[in-house]
């Protein structure tokens, strides 16, 4: 329809301008993503081969592969999730369900979470070092690193899980209660399954943050490049490896890009696996007796 046509309306131009702005914003975001991914892949992909994925790094990472780093990363992530997921679920249930009668306590918890979410990760690193490495005597270890990351991802996981639980229709809760289902049964069979998609989003965000973290890990998990044999060993995460290669190892740039490539692929794989797993679980639950 042309401007000034039979059906034109004042303000139609603003619609078009707004439309253009929206497209520009969305396109810009996509462009940034494509640029980062493309740049990393272009510089790193040529370095990636089977040997890179299956051997341990030597010569400070300039030669050899990254297998021990990948293993350390996955172990740190496992520790993080093992500690954070139950805590996050428990706190979310408290905030969404129980807190009606304990509004003052809930306010304190919410406020703590907001503050926690705003703390820079380097501070988490120092705190994790003081508490886990020194006070609890865990030393520089995968366990220390994982627990520190757990503290860091808790706010985002709790908030998304709380929102997911709150968005479960109240009618479902009422109907479950009317059948004489106890609170635990209501949570377990009705509210959790209904909240799973929202919780999956929180899990993915948490995993993303954990895998991306560097500063908090340098002080807690350390940067030993050898293959870890237990969670008590020090281990270098992929992001720490990227940082070391790029900043502290001369001629490490290409290896840094290659490691970054693997890190990105890993993030993509784990997050999509986590969300699809949770969605499948939900469908399974539905058909279960």
């Amino acid at each position: 329809m042309s401007e000034g046509g039979a059906f034109s309306r004042p303000g139609a131009r603003f619609d078009r301008i707004l439309g253009a702005v929206v497209w520009l914003a969305a396109g810009g975001i996509a462009a940034v993503l494509i640029w980062i991914t493309g740049d990393t892949l272009q510089r790193g992909l040529s370095e990636v081969d089977i040997a890179f994925l299956t051997t341990e790094p030597t010569d400070a990472g300039r030669r050899g592969g990254i297998v021990s780093v990948v293993v350390s990363t996955l172990m740190i992530l496992a520790v993080t999730l093992t500690a954070a997921v139950p805590l996050a679920l428990g706190t979310a249930v408290f905030l969404a369900d129980v807190s009606a009668r304990w509004s003052a306590a809930a306010a304190v918890v919410r406020w703590s979470l907001d503050v926690l979410a705003a703390v820079p990760s380097i501070v988490f690193g120092l705190f994790g070092n003081a508490l886990f490495c020194v006070v609890l005597g865990l030393g520089y270890s995968i366990l220390s690193g994982g627990l520190t990351l757990a503290c860091m991802v808790l706010p985002v996981m709790i908030r998304t899980a709380e929102q997911a639980l709150r968005s479960v229709p109240a009618e479902l809760r009422m109907n479950a209660a009317a059948l004489g289902l106890r609170r635990t049964a209501r949570l377990w069979h009705i509210e959790f399954p209904a909240a799973v998609p929202g919780m999956a989003a929180g899990l993915v965000l948490g995993i993303g943050r954990a895998l991306a973290e560097t500063a908090a890990l340098i002080f807690t998990a350390g940067y030993a490049t050898r293959m870890p044999t237990s969670v008590m060993d020090s281990g270098r995460a992929l992001s720490v490896h990227v940082y070391e290669l790029a900043m502290n190892v001369p001629m490490g740039d290409r290896r840094a890009a290659a490691t970054a490539t693997i890190l990105m692929i890993l993030v993509l794989c784990i997050t999509s696996a986590a969300s699809s797993l949770l969605h499948r679980r939900r469908i399974f639950r539905r058909s279960e007796a």
Binding site: A100, P169, E171, L172, R173, M174, N175, A176, A177, A178, L179, G180, L181, R182, A185, H189, I190, P193, A194, R285, R286, S287, E288, A289
Partner: protein, 252 residues
């Protein structure tokens, strides 16, 4: 079966139900009628303590289920709600399979044997006339059923627990006339060996199925019962002009 003595319900400082003494008898359907906002639903919610889930709600007076005070702390709420079932205006199946919808309650109330649960499920689905419609897709999502089927599923879900009392809050108002007639017929059959209370705005429906009638009305800002007795008696000889005007459709 279940009766109230001077039951009052408050939400914060607002009294929505005042001083209601009513009796639901076994084998009879008690229709609870009255204009919107006169406390009918709140009254019903108090009977099986669903009111506990409403923030800020407080109850005074007594609710006696088989001569036991339901608000006595020693009694199990879960068991009370098993024996005093409730159906809401809008059918809300759980987003689970049809089978899970029925068996979840059974499992929770201690029917451990899978075969028992299957048999009970078939029985109640037959009772509500749903078996032939869904027996070949018990593992499909219950939310995919039509509105009338969903309401019958909700009834079956409550029936599976073999309640002594059924509280129905406008169970037909969200249904089309055909589905409503089907549910209505079902309610009549179910009343044979239980006490049923049905809140309804449909006076024709009350006239068709009710044995007893209670008319709620707002007096001094809160809902209370202004007439109760057998349906026949109140419909034919309304005790006061307010009731007579309401029942004949001139007010309310």
């Amino acid at each position: 079966m279940i009766r109230t003595e001077s039951l009052s319900v408050r939400y914060g400082s607002r009294t929505v139900v005042r001083d209601v003494s009513l009796r639901l008898r076994c084998g009879r359907i008690t229709a609870i009628v009255g204009p919107s906002g006169c406390g009918k639903t709140s009254f019903l919610l108090a009977l099986n303590r669903m009111i506990d889930l409403v923030p800020g709600a407080a109850v005074a007076g007594r609710v006696l289920f088989q001569d036991v005070d339901v608000f006595d702390r020693r009694n199990s709420i879960a068991e009370l709600r098993r024996r005093v079932g409730m159906i809401f205006q809008k059918p809300v199946p759980f987003p689970l399979s049809i089978r899970a919808n029925i068996q979840l309650g059974l499992k929770e109330h201690g029917v451990r044997n899978r075969r028992d649960r299957e048999a009970m499920m078939e029985q109640v689905l037959r009772d509500v006339g749903l078996w032939d419609e869904v027996s070949d897709r018990l593992d499909c999502l219950a939310t995919k059923l039509s509105g009338g089927q969903q309401q019958r599923l909700c009834l079956a879900r409550a029936l599976a627990l073999d309640p002594d009392v059924l509280l129905l809050d406008e169970p037909c108002s969200a249904l089309d006339p055909v589905a409503a007639a089907c549910v209505e017929k079902l309610i009549t059959e179910l009343s044979r060996n239980r006490a049923i209370a049905i809140v309804t705005h449909n006076l024709a429906q009350a006239r068709r199925i009710a044995d007893d009638l209670a008319v709620f009305w707002v007096r001094d800002g809160s809902g209370t019962v202004i007439a109760q007795g057998t349906a026949e008696e109140i419909f034919s000889r309304p005790p006061c002009p307010t009731v007579s005007d309401y029942l004949s459709g001139r007010t309310g």
